[in-house]
């Protein structure tokens, strides 16, 4: 699995009018022009007439500039910002079910504690945990749990906003 911070991945934060069909327009534009979406998250903003779509684009398939220009041509797209991972804060949520027989359970919980994750559900010999963090940290936990036997993973795709100025302008 390719790493989400692979250099060919770029994060686009796309502000759109919150109307039916807008996501389909964005998605079909990507398909029509031969661009690949790596991950995608969408939800309304504080202003309910607007939604923010956070798209991780695999730009080996097309120059990023062309992707952005084509997206801008959609009438319902209001603003597009490319978020540099160094200048933005990013979060992703992961739910993960892993084998956790009695002998291994405490090891897993210890790991989870180190990552500040939560236990959502406990079964006879498996548990479901959740964690929201930088996508890279989710990768780390996922990799560390791999040897125990992962049964299911569901990730939301990343959401991001630009980093704020920390000094008085």
């Amino acid at each position: 699995m390719s790493h989400p911070t692979h250099p060919r991945h770029h994060v686009l934060s796309v502000l759109v009018q919150n109307r039916s069909g807008v996501l389909a327009r964005v998605a079909s534009l990507f398909a029509r022009r031969g661009y690949n979406i790596y991950s995608l998250a969408v939800a309304p903003t504080d202003d309910e007439s607007l939604s923010r779509i956070t798209i991780v684009v695999d730009v080996e398939t097309a120059p990023l500039e062309q992707v952005v220009k084509q997206l801008h041509k959609l009438i319902n797209v209001i603003k597009i910002s490319e978020l540099d991972p160094l200048d933005s804060v990013e979060r992703e949520l992961m739910l993960l079910t892993v084998k956790a027989p009695a002998g291994k359970r405490s090891e897993i919980l210890e790991l989870l504690g180190l990552f500040e994750g939560n236990v959502l559900d406990v079964g006879h010999d498996e548990i479901t945990v959740s964690m929201d963090d930088d996508p890279e940290r989710l990768d780390d936990l996922e990799n560390l749990l791999m040897p125990y036997g992962i049964i299911d993973v569901q990730r939301t795709g990343r959401v991001a906003l630009p980093r704020l100025e920390h000094t008085r302008p």
């Binding site: 009018q17 079909s28 120059p63 801008h72 209001i78």
Partner: protein, 583 residues
């Protein structure tokens, strides 16, 4: 004022200044057709919805005003997908209204239901399923605004039956008409850039002042921006030769000493080669289409590029420009001219390009368009037919074509003198475009003579619209270049598939084109020998009360030259065999 959605839709079209719509009614759109009876809008009843779309395109291309088509749901909507795609590729302003099943039935696979908005998303500049009757005036205004501003294009509005049917309470609304400001505020994501960036314009002027071998590469954007006058001023001021792409034929007069004609796969030797050898390409409203560039990595290798386009996505899409300028071609040309004047007044001189001009003239003399006249008794040469059609038509005659060999010959041999006299399907290459597009053009410009030049293959795709033309008294003229083949495909099979002809033979006399045309109410003549050509055309030109069809039996072995074979660079122009250097 209380009204209903159907009446509001027609009223909104009237408010937008629509004088004519092309369409065909059906179940879901019935309530919209009822108020058409009282409306001053002229409705032209087509025989197939594809015809409605192409007529709207022909109307738009000849007048500059948006073409409008109204059709019903399901199969009617899918039938108009081709014209939408064609208009999208050629940036033709068009508004298409489709019926849709009642909102509550959407998604149930109801009778004549199709996901029209989904199907047409990729072939429209914008489309919209109108959910509420009260939205109709605003969405119609948005549609016309979007279709006609920025880079023009087709907009589709999908109208569910319940919001236009006066017997349904969903259709009730209070009439209103949104202001320009309200329309702009409702489209926060739509703000086309019109004015060019001043620094880029300065830079462009500087490049022009320094160029030794400049060529203006004028595209369809010149016509969309209504910039033909300004283009001429720029060319004459700088003495720069001009090529006009297939979409821009007529934007610069073919008889002008600076005009090199059409570039591209079947362009003039000189137009292709001048671009190839230039050191500055001034691309105005053109998009470096693959049919222009040939093999891209060898295209105009020594040229810097100034690229002016209203669509930012065109800049750098194919060739990375040295000076990209986003904006309206007319305004930007005006600004470039102003900047050049400033430089000239400041003491700078335009470079002496006499050598370049004489190199170009040398090519023009050595490689003019040419063909060999037929022997007595042999089949007609299509180029001869075109020359005769041109000679016998008024200068401002509008000509439409289908797609294929006849299209290339028309573009090559019709000496275009005026903008908006050439109607064709450039980007999509839609066979069957000519007849309906010519009808639409004639409706838009009833004062002009309108010829459609068609192939026999193309004619069979949309000929039934001549019934529409006869019924509606739209006296278009059609010249069928009947070579009994799908000619362009045949040419490729002859040249690149070792003369293995696969499924390209039609028939010279099945159908009988004369009888068919007569059955559709046209005057029709068959022309088989050179001496009949002129008199037949004169006869056709004298008819004004009904459509005319002239069937010319032409030589199937005739090929379109020059030609740059697919996959090769523009250094490899195949000229007419008679012009080849002796080996």
């Amino acid at each position: 004022m209380k009204t209903n959605g159907g009446a509001a839709l027609i009223k909104a079209l009237e408010m937008e200044g629509v004088e004519v719509v092309f369409g065909l009614p059906g179940g879901a759109i019935l309530p919209v057709y009822d108020p058409i009876i009282e409306s001053p809008i002229r409705h032209i009843l087509v025989r197939h919805e594809q015809g409605a779309g192409h007529m709207a395109q022909g109307y738009a291309q000849s007048t500059g005003r948006p073409g409008v088509a109204i059709v019903t749901s399901g199969p009617a909507a899918t039938n108009i997908v081709t014209p939408l795609c064609d208009a999208y590729m050629d940036s033709t302003p068009m508004v298409v209204i489709t019926g849709q099943v009642a909102f509550s039935a959407i998604g149930t696979d109801a009778f004549q239901e199709a996901d029209t908005v989904g199907i047409t998303r990729g072939v429209t500049k914008h489309n919209e399923l109108i959910a509420r009757a009260e939205d109709i005036p605003l969405i119609v205004r948005q549609a016309f605004h979007i279709a006609t501003t920025g880079r023009p294009g087709p907009v589709l509005l999908d109208v569910p039956k319940n919001i236009v049917d006066p017997t349904n309470p969903d259709s009730a609304l209070d009439w209103y008409w949104p202001t320009d400001e309200e329309v702009a505020a409702s489209l926060p994501g739509y703000k086309p850039t019109i004015k060019g960036h001043p620094r880029k314009i300065k830079q462009a002027a500087k490049f022009i002042m320094e160029a030794d071998r400049p060529v203006i590469y004028a595209g369809g954007g010149i016509l969309k921006a209504r910039a033909a006058e300004e283009l001429r001023e720029l060319a004459e001021m700088t003495n720069t030769p001009v090529v006009t792409t297939l979409m821009a034929r007529g934007a610069f007069p073919d008889d002008h000493p600076l005009c090199l004609g059409m570039p591209g796969m079947h362009g003039n030797y000189t137009a292709v080669t001048a671009m190839q050898r230039s050191d500055l390409l001034i691309a105005l409203g053109s998009r470096f289409d693959d049919r222009i560039t040939g093999r891209l990595d060898g295209f105009a290798p020594g040229a810097k590029v100034i690229h002016v386009d209203i669509d930012p996505a065109e800049l750098g899409k194919v060739r990375v420009p040295d000076v990209p300028i986003v904006g309206d071609a007319r305004l930007i040309i005006v600004e470039i001219i102003r900047e050049l004047r400033k430089l000239r007044d400041g003491g700078s001189e335009l470079p002496d390009i006499t050598d370049w001009r004489s190199t170009v003239s040398g090519w023009q003399e050595k490689y003019p368009l040419t063909y060999e006249q037929s022997e007595p008794g042999a089949l007609l040469k299509p180029q001869y037919v075109l020359e005769q059609l041109r000679e016998r038509a008024p200068q401002d005659c509008i000509v439409a074509s289908g797609v294929g060999q006849h299209q290339m010959w028309t573009s090559q041999y019709w000496e275009f003198r005026h903008p908006y006299t050439w109607i064709n399907s450039g980007g999509l290459g839609t066979m069957g475009f000519a007849v309906p597009a010519a009808i639409g053009a004639k409706v838009g410009r009833p004062d002009r003579m309108v010829w459609a030049v068609d192939g026999d293959g193309c004619f069979q795709m949309t000929a039934q619209e001549l019934v529409t033309a006869t019924t509606e008294r739209i006296p278009v003229k059609v010249a069928i270049l009947n070579n009994a083949y799908l000619g362009m495909v045949r040419q490729w099979q002859e040249m690149f598939y070792e003369e293995r002809y696969s499924e390209v033979y039609l028939s010279p006399d099945l159908p009988d084109y004369v009888k068919w045309a007569e059955a559709m109410g046209c005057m029709a003549l068959r022309v088989e020998s050179p001496e009949e050509v002129g008199p037949a055309i004169d006869k056709a030109n004298a008819v004004n009360d009904r459509p005319v069809v002239l069937e010319f039996r032409t030589d199937a072995s005739e090929k379109v030259f020059p030609m740059v074979p697919s996959g090769l660079t523009n250094d490899h122009v195949m000229v007419d065999p008679s012009q080849e250097d002796p080996k």
